[in-house]
Structure formats: C-alpha cells, structure tokens
C-alpha cells in the first residue's frame, strides 16, 4: 500500500522534529540538523536521531505499517491485552505515546 502521494512543493520549513533549521546561503533549500547530520526537511525527517526519507515505512506489530516520519508506533505492553496503536507525532515537541493523538489502531 502506497499512501504517500507524489506531489506537493513543500514550503514549510520543518520535518516532524527540528533540532535546528537554517537556510542555505546559496539556495533556498532549508536544511535541518539531526544528531550530527543535516537533512532536507522537504524530503527527509529526523527520527530517533536518524535521517529518514519521508516515505519510509516500518512495521508496528506483526501486520501494521506506520510512517516513522509522521507517526509513532505505540505498543501497549501493559495489562492482559497486547496491542499496537499508531499515533500521530506532535510537531515541534518530543512526541510521546501517551499524549499523542491516535492515527490508527493495529489489530493484534
């Protein structure tokens, strides 16, 4: 399943997490810092101090896909019911599972 549309001129300056953003002197390209790397937030994001392409997907549980640039995989480990919930990252802050809005519910 490919949810990521091939479009859009990204005018905004940011990826989901922005330690610092600067404007390149020679081009209008915006670059941001991620750990000790820099990245282009129009095409990449910073997740877990790692530069990822915006369309990167990972598994959240055995059969659920999530987008680490925009979503959090929240394994609900406690209690008898083990399940996974995908939540939307809250931009501009360090997103945490309990305080982030739900993006989707993964079957067990």
């Amino acid at each position: 399943m490919q949810r990521w549309p091939q479009t859009q001129v990204y005018r905004a300056n940011l990826g989901p997490r922005l330690p610092h953003t600067v404007i390149s002197a020679q081009t209008p390209l915006l670059v941001s810092g991620c750990g000790d790397q820099i990245y282009n937030p129009m095409e990449q994001c910073c997740d877990d101090d790692t530069v990822l392409p915006l369309n990167r997907t990972k598994l959240c549980g055995p059969n659920c896909i999530f987008w680490p640039c925009f979503e959090l995989c929240c394994p609900e480990s406690f209690g008898p019911e083990k399940k996974y919930v995908v939540k939307l990252k809250v931009l501009g802050v360090n997103s945490r599972c309990p305080s982030s809005p739900i993006s989707g519910d993964c079957a067990r």
């Binding site: 990204y10 937030p41 101090d49 925009f70 995989c73 406690f78 939307l88 931009l91 501009g92 305080s99």
Partner: protein, 403 residues
C-alpha cells in the same frame, strides 16, 4: 509466509541436502543478521557437499537457538537495539525511557528487529520470583538480591554504539489498579516516625498562614477581575464602533477575497454570505478587523480548542466544510484544512500525510488533535481568527454555535 512457518519447514520437512547450505543465508534473511555475525559465520565454514539430514539438524539446532526469538537483534546487546540507518546500537533506555510500570522490564532488544520494525512489545513482565519496583532496565530477585545478569545480550559487543542521548522521563503507568511508589510491605522509617510530631505542629502554623494568604489572594483576584472586565467592556465597545466601517481584509491569503465577499457575495461556495441576519455579518466582520477580539463570539475566544473535539456535531460540520480539496475540475482551492494547518505552522508534508489517511481519518480532526496536544492553551478564538483570515465565513458560522 511467516517466520515460524519457515523455521518449522526447515526442521521438520525432508529437506534436500543443499538446503543445509542455504539455511544460513535464509536465517540471515529472516533475522536480518549480517554475514559474519556469530549466528551465521560458523555454518558457512562447513562443506555443503557433506551435509545430510543429520548435518541439517546439527547445524540448525544451535542456529535456531541463537535465532530465538527470531526477531532478536544479532548485532547488539539485549538492552540495545540495532539502528539500521545509522548502523549502530542504541540504548533501549534512551529510546523508550524506563519501564513505566513496576515489575516490568525491557524485552530483548526492546522489541525491535534489525530492520527497526516493532515486532514485540518493548517491555515485559518480570519473570516469576523477580521484581522491579524502581523501574530499572531489568528485574532482579524480589528479596533484594543482586541484579539479574543481562540477557544473552552482549553477544556481539558494542562496536557501533549510537550517540548518547538523554533518557526520556518515565511515562505514567497505564495500569489503573497499580499504586505507584507505594508498597504495602514498606514500613515507615524511624526518621519518618520522629518527624511526624514536628510535622503536625508545623502544619497548624502553615494552615494559619495559608488561610490569611488565601484571603489576600482572593481580594486581589476580585480586584483584577473587576479591572479586566471593565477593560474588556471598553474594548468590545471600541471594536463594535470600528466594525461599522468596512475595511479590506489584510490577512486573507486566497486571492481577492475581502470583506465585501463576506457580506455581498452572491455566488455559491464557502465564501458566500450566510443568511443569518445582521448579527452574523458582524461575526464575520469583526475578526477581520483585528486579531485582538471576537466581540460577537465572546465566549468562543476564551474557550479551549479541545472543546471542539467534544462537540462532535460541530466538528463534523467543520470537517465537511474544510476537508474537501479541489478535484480535477478545479473549484475552491483555498481555505481548506491544508491552509488552516499552514496557519498553525504545520509543515505541508504533514498535511499531505494526513490527507493520505482519508477517508478513515479526517485531516481536520487530526490537525485539531495535534494542535491541542502541542499547545493545550490553544483557543477556539484562535481557530476563529484563522478561519476568518482564510475567508471561511461558512466555517465561522458553524463555529459560532459553540459561542
């Protein structure tokens, strides 16, 4: 085909001889281990021509033992996970924070496989006879014994350790029945007992001080309230006077929309003037004149944005109005949820992503939830201002139902 199926077939079926040679490569693909890691290097040294069914079993057994659980990382210790992009071992504690609930500990590699997928939960309950009251990474014997040894973890060393990061704070334990930090077996310490009498006397004095301080605070609060009310009344009167004069809207982002569009447009669409009478005209007008106040929606301005998430009917109406984007035939190209998101400073990439979640997820609802989570003090008044600046008089009218 699942991992288990692969493994069962590898052990149980009458496998041709050459499968004994292929098995390591297969396991590498299953576990994501790199060639040369302990799990896969040894079998590669064997001569495939000599390998029969017995060889298969002899080879597969230790391999499977090392590969159990099959998703465990072959690169890092048990309390670490493999970061496939940076190619380093990160600390589970620094990524997930301490176990939120007592008597839980980290799972092997905090549930991540070598591809970074979440294949199991990051925390698990302590084994029988072990406890973890202070949210350490691993459980230890309940009687207060030594810390349990790290799980077979440090198998490949830590040759590529990711950059150190601060440990996130501990999350609240979601288990309702648990009483954190209080354990029935704990007795009060002698120092705590001796301090009880002093504490009670101290409390009486402190209560008296608190009472007088509360009275002072109450008087001051009433004074501040009176002054604020007077100021708001004066400001509202001033806004009403200014509203009688028509000005072009300075904040509109969509073409030539201006205040006249709100009041006199005859074309259908979101910018059409609602038929709600003169009072509504003022509702549409006033936000355009200044961002300071919404005199016709006085309650709205001060109410939290989170209220909208509870008012499902209003939210649904706003979703119907704001989520649709122009189709191939054109149509309304501005003032959608995407533009509203930009007003809230949200990156276009994020908007594109949440639009891709349609129809199961409303972009507007996702936006409101995200803004509320990011900024709990966000108000309905701020939303009204954004809608006015986008020229969405129709959405403002719906929003005014909350006023």
């Amino acid at each position: 085909m699942g991992v288990d199926t692969h493994l069962q077939r590898g052990l149980g079926d009458p496998v041709p001889r050459h499968h004994c040679f292929l098995l390591p490569a297969f396991l590498e693909s299953v576990t994501g281990a790199v060639a040369g890691s302990p799990a896969v290097a040894a079998p590669q040294a064997a001569d495939p021509a000599r390998m029969g069914p017995l060889c298969l079993l002899l080879t597969a057994a230790p391999l499977l033992a090392q590969a159990a659980p099959p998703e465990a990382s072959q690169h890092c210790g048990g309390l670490e996970y493999w970061n496939p992009d940076n190619r380093c071992c990160g600390s589970c504690l620094q990524r997930f924070g301490p176990p939120p609930c007592p008597d839980y500990e980290f799972s092997e590699n905090c549930g991540l496989n070598n591809a970074g997928d979440h294949v199991s939960h990051p925390y698990k309950e302590c084994p029988f006879g072990q406890c973890n009251p202070d949210s350490a990474e691993l459980c230890r014997p309940c009687g207060g014994g030594a810390t349990a040894p790290a799980p077979a973890g440090s198998r490949s060393g830590t040759q590529w350790r990711c950059k150190e990061r601060p440990v996130p704070p501990k999350e609240p334990c979601p288990l309702k029945s648990w009483k954190p930090e209080v354990f029935s077996s704990q007795e009060p310490s002698p120092s705590a007992i001796s301090s009880l009498s002093w504490t009670s006397e101290h409390n009486v004095t402190r209560q008296a001080l608190q009472t007088s301080a509360q009275a002072v605070v109450l008087v001051l609060s009433v004074l501040v309230l009176l002054v604020t009310s007077a100021a708001i009344l004066l400001l509202a009167q001033q806004c009403r006077r200014q509203a009688k004069v028509l000005h072009p809207c300075p904040g509109l982002v969509c073409g030539d929309t201006n205040i006249h569009t709100f009041l006199h447009s005859s074309s259908p669409g979101p910018l059409e003037a609602p038929e709600a009478g003169d009072s509504w005209k003022e509702v549409a007008l006033v936000p355009l004149l200044g961002r300071v106040c919404l005199p016709e929606l006085p309650n709205l301005a001060s109410q939290p944005l989170s209220r909208l998430l509870d008012e499902l009917e209003v939210l649904e109406e706003l979703i119907v109005l704001l989520d649709p984007e122009p189709g191939p035939g054109g149509g309304m190209a501005c003032g959608t949820t995407r533009h509203l998101a930009a007003r809230y400073g949200v990156p276009a990439a994020w908007s594109t992503f949440v639009y891709s979640l349609r129809p199961s997820r409303s972009p507007l609802r996702a936006l409101i939830e995200m803004v509320v989570a990011r900024e709990p003090s966000a108000s309905l008044g701020q939303l009204g201002t954004h809608l006015a600046q986008l020229g969405r008089a129709d959405a403002l009218q719906v929003l005014s139902k909350l006023g």
